[in-house]
Amino acid sequence: MSQKTEKRQSLFSRIMNPKYIMVYATVIIFLIIYAYGAIRYGKIGFTTLRTFVNFFTDNAYYGISAVGMTMVLITGGIDLSVASVASLTGMLIAYGYERMGISPVITMLFSILVGIGLGALMGSAIHYLNVPPFITTLTGNFLARGICSLISRESISINHPLIDALAGFKITLYHMVDGEWVKIKPITKIDLTVIIFIVMIILGTIVLQHTRFGRNVYAIGGSESSAKLMGLPVGKTKVAVYAINGFCSALAGIAYVLVVKSGWNMALQGGELEVISSAVIGGTLLTGGVGYMIGTMFGVLLKSVIPAIINFNGTLSSWWGKIATGALLLLFIVIQRAVVSYTGKKKAN
């Protein structure tokens, strides 16, 4: 895959590359569900820009974590510790300021370091001790959650001007009407968490698609032993991927703190599976080697559309949301499966 041949291809054929087919499947399902919502609940505001922005806002912290998770899944690993690391971050910030008087800036940096350190530790256990990622990160999950509970078993609310300022930082969207900038109605605001989410997706895409590191990640996921034989730095890359994921989980924890303004030891319980399923719905294969950040983003959006539809309906109870998520997961995986076997047959022919 030299760059020259890629540049020669037209834009259209580059976009229609069959390797993106999973991403398109996600986008199409998202559009179908969105269209359903628009037809059913268009009159009560489903089609407004505000609702659309809320899809990003609702699960922004899961999205930030999913960026790191996508990389981990591409290497063929898995990380079950993300939610507890995020919860630990929230707890560190809350306890640090409310009980010890440390400025949130320091605790934020510290918790990011904790996230990176824990990730690197787990990555080295996975690579150098050859422990399955599932078990290593499960232990990391217990550890982070346990430390959280050791710090405090009660929810601690944070009252700090910086946190309030960051949480209150919103960009109001305007549009041009008759040559004048007017606020979009209903008033649509973009939160800081959404900005972080989108920036992380863009950064993730750049790292995965346009750097040597990104190519190493894909190579390891494709076949770890081949990557090793090719002389790629497998160990370093794997440890780095888990460290990046730790960074993303800590960042997700900060984003979550901005939403709830408190630290709680049981926060985001089960969040790791939300994150993993977002990435998988976005077309990332758990066996490794395949996955795109943009697909993950649509996976996160899909996860917000279903609760939105249930909310707009108003009569469905929340447990239907669980079943709908399960059913959607089933639908999507079956489609994914069909696409994979179809393209596989095509290639064979």
Partner: protein
Amino acid sequence: MKKKTYLIFLIVGLLLLAVGIGCFARICAVKDSIYSNYSISFSDASFASVFINDHDEATVKADFDAAILAAATGGASASEEPSMDEVPVEGAEAVEAAEAEAVEAVDEEAQEEALEAIAEASPYDTVIGSFSKVSGLRNAWKLQGILIGAGLLLCLVAVVLVLRAKNLDLAAIMRSKITWAVIAELLILVVCLVIRPEFFSISYQPSSRMLYGNLVDIINRSAEITIIGMGMTMVIALGGTDLSVGALVAVSGALALKLMRWDPTNPLYQTPGDYSVYPFILVLLVPLLVCLLMGAFNGVLVGQLKLQPIIATLILMVSGRGIAQIITNGKQYTTMYSPFRVIGQGSCLFLPTPIVITVVVVAAVMLFVRKTAFGTFVESVGINPSASRLSGINSKVVILIVFALTGLLSGISGMIYSSRIMSNDSNNAGINYETDAILSVVIGGTSMSGGKFSLTGTIVGSIIIRTIITFVYYFGVSPDSTMAFKALIIAVIIVLQSEPVRNWMAKRSQARTMVKGGAVK
């Protein structure tokens, strides 16, 4: 086979020894506290009665307290009566305080009367009476002597067997993951024994016909995970994982409670029922059947559609709790139906029923897996699916059976869980069971990448996990923080079991035996 015999002898011996020491420590502790508090000497037989039962000990002491207060102050100071809920030691302290007050308040005659009253109307007699009904357990001293003796004997037999063994492959034992799991379990228990020998005491409660004690409790409480672990072991041997077991536990409980409590003809009936609306056999069978079908659904997704097991079972994990909510319509039913209570809280053969259920299930699964070719099929599909298909194994059917079996076992586990709480709890029933089950399978030595599996190892693994929790609770750590300790201990076990460390250990022990052999020659 031989290797196993030594290990079993050694472990049973050590455990008996520990139980003996634990009972001894407990008797000493109780005797000391009673001597110091009442300054009355009792015969050993009455201590035996204390030894047999924690609960009665508390009530007996409370009776004593009442007697002292009644005699000393003429029943006037009812408000100073120490509360029954207090821990025995604290209760004894309260009695001391009450006694001191009594001395101040009334003259010595009244105190003497009180002591006489205690000596005459000793409630211990009634306890001893009930105790002597159980044949062979008359004397606690004798019993713990027997325990310690038997433990020593078994340890000795094991050591002699090991010493006399000619071709004992120490390197192979060191390389086995189960060895490390057992060593870890024993280490935790040794720490317990050093810090608090009473941890090991086992007592018999005549009223509920059950043995009580931390060791019994560990096995009792590990029942759910052990039962699920049997299925999970085979799922992992196939190279997959089943995340849906926790949700199936919730579904099973919800269905059982609904069948017992939900009466369409009388929907407003609110009182806690000591009856079952549908026949009890249906209450038992329908949830198990539904769980079997849900497991089979997982099996179809993994086997026929060739989905990745984690994702395929994630579907039911996510939606299973929703289904459980829909079954009960979001309600939390409770029941008082006594046959249902037996499953989780009753006794059978002097043991809590969950232990007996576990033994039966484990025996059935082991017979099915090891006495038929099924276990070999599972292993071959796990090692190389396409090769096993070429050799004529229908891997789809094998996968279907394994997942359906796991579903059924989760159903059984769900019945035990809901019988323990006599209620259904769609949000919290079986929470984190999937991770606990997977952990116990991995600690037990089955590789996550599939292939060979060990059901015995899984039992050891699930007992280790429960031991950690019981251990941490026993030393008064808050339940939320147990996770940190669990993580630390599991991390140590996993590092010990990891390939590089095990190879290094095996090499060292091999080198040592070689040096030894060379010296002899």
